[in-house]
């Protein structure tokens, strides 16, 4: 089956818009169910962690560079390095490993 890129994009933006806009327009009261609230709360951390590893290792040609970037990036972010610095630190580590260790 052949897929159209614009339909993919439409689905992407449609779903993410609905998820963002519906709560703001429809739900004016707070959700009370603690399990659903907890699930929503945990989702981003689980998803992003799953997406980061082992992908960070598989995305580079030398897996050691990916692991070094992961460990140092996690430590930097843990101690409050912030979005931009953490991203740059990971990138520079991978660059150095790829460039100097073949």
């Amino acid at each position: 089956m052949r897929h159209n890129v614009y339909i993919y994009i439409l689905i992407m933006c449609g779903v993410s818009f609905l998820l963002r806009a519906l709560p703001l327009t429809l739900i004016r009261k707070e959700i009370k169910n603690k399990y659903f609230r907890s699930f929503l709360y945990y989702v981003p951390y689980v998803t992003l962690a799953v997406m980061t590893f082992p992908a960070i290792m598989d995305a580079v040609s030398n897996p050691l560079g990916g692991i070094a970037a992961l460990v140092i990036g996690m430590a930097a972010a843990y101690f409050g390095a912030g979005l931009f610095p953490t991203a740059i630190i990971c990138s520079v580590i991978v660059f150095c490993v790829e460039f100097f260790i073949k």
Partner: protein
């Protein structure tokens, strides 16, 4: 409140948003450049990728979406993955709906919703008192134009950069993901443990026979439902420790 006062208030908040959006824009520019490279690898043209960035305004969501396009996944997979990965925006929108005053009309709410990102949520949910939607417009217009520009340049320039540099830039996204999850892990040790469990299971799933054949997108959905669902059941967040309250206390 008299009308002219409200208009100048809107302008003040809009300008403050533009200013506060500058550091976010810098981060977005670098990260979206890497996203553009992912889009190019998935076979998207520069205008398709830019359109996706202008309409979706989502880092992890777009990244996963481009992966689905690259792997020629079904439309249902695309909808499911987008829903799973963007589920956090629902919670953010619920939080922001409590921050907006009852005067905020539906159109304004739709615009605030359209532009909910991790960083815009972070900046706007920490505003003292009620939130003026024009602050979100300022933040969004400043930062997300660089998001779209970076995506565009990533597609266009990505293929003339040396491979080593492209690989290194591609890692920016993972660094950004770490920067989103680790600060919460520091505040809440349960989250920290979940991060480690998630990475360990993700590694296992990617290497195990049969399961690894499911494809990355499907594995993300299964692992998220399994781990976040299990965590919500086993250690539900207590009310006095709810994410909203933690965020607003920052």
């Amino acid at each position: 409140m008299d009308k002219s006062f409200r208009i100048s208030d809107a302008k003040k908040w809009f300008l403050k948003g533009l200013r506060d959006g500058i550091p976010i824009a810098a981060g977005y520019f670098a990260v979206s450049f890497a996203l553009g490279i992912t889009a190019r690898n998935a076979g998207l043209t520069w205008y398709q990728a830019t359109l996706a960035s202008l309409l979706c305004n989502a880092s992890a969501g777009e990244y996963a979406g481009f992966e689905v396009i690259a792997s020629k996944g079904s439309y249902i997979t695309m909808a499911l993955i987008t829903a799973i990965i963007s589920a956090r925006y629902m919670l953010m929108s619920i939080t922001l709906s409590q921050k907006l005053s009852s005067e905020t009309n539906t159109l304004q709410r739709l615009f605030v919703g359209f532009w909910v990102t991790d960083e815009i949520f972070g900046a706007s949910s920490t505003v003292p008192g009620k939130l003026n939607p024009h602050y979100n417009y300022g933040l969004a217009i400043c930062s997300l134009s660089f998001w779209a520009l970076g995506t565009c340049l990533g597609v266009v320039v990505g293929n003339i950069l040396p491979a080593v540099l492209v690989t290194a830039l591609g890692v920016l996204l993972y660094g950004m993901f770490l920067a989103i999850i680790m600060p919460e892990g520091r505040k809440n040790k349960k989250v920290l443990i979940l991060i480690f469990i998630s990475m360990a299971l993700s590694f296992a799933f990617s290497r195990l026979p049969y399961i690894s054949a499911l494809g990355e997108g499907t594995r993300i959905i299964i692992l998220t439902l399994l781990i976040a669902g299990g965590a919500a059941f086993l250690m539900p967040v207590r009310e006095e420790n709810s994410p909203e309250k933690e965020d607003s206390a920052e």
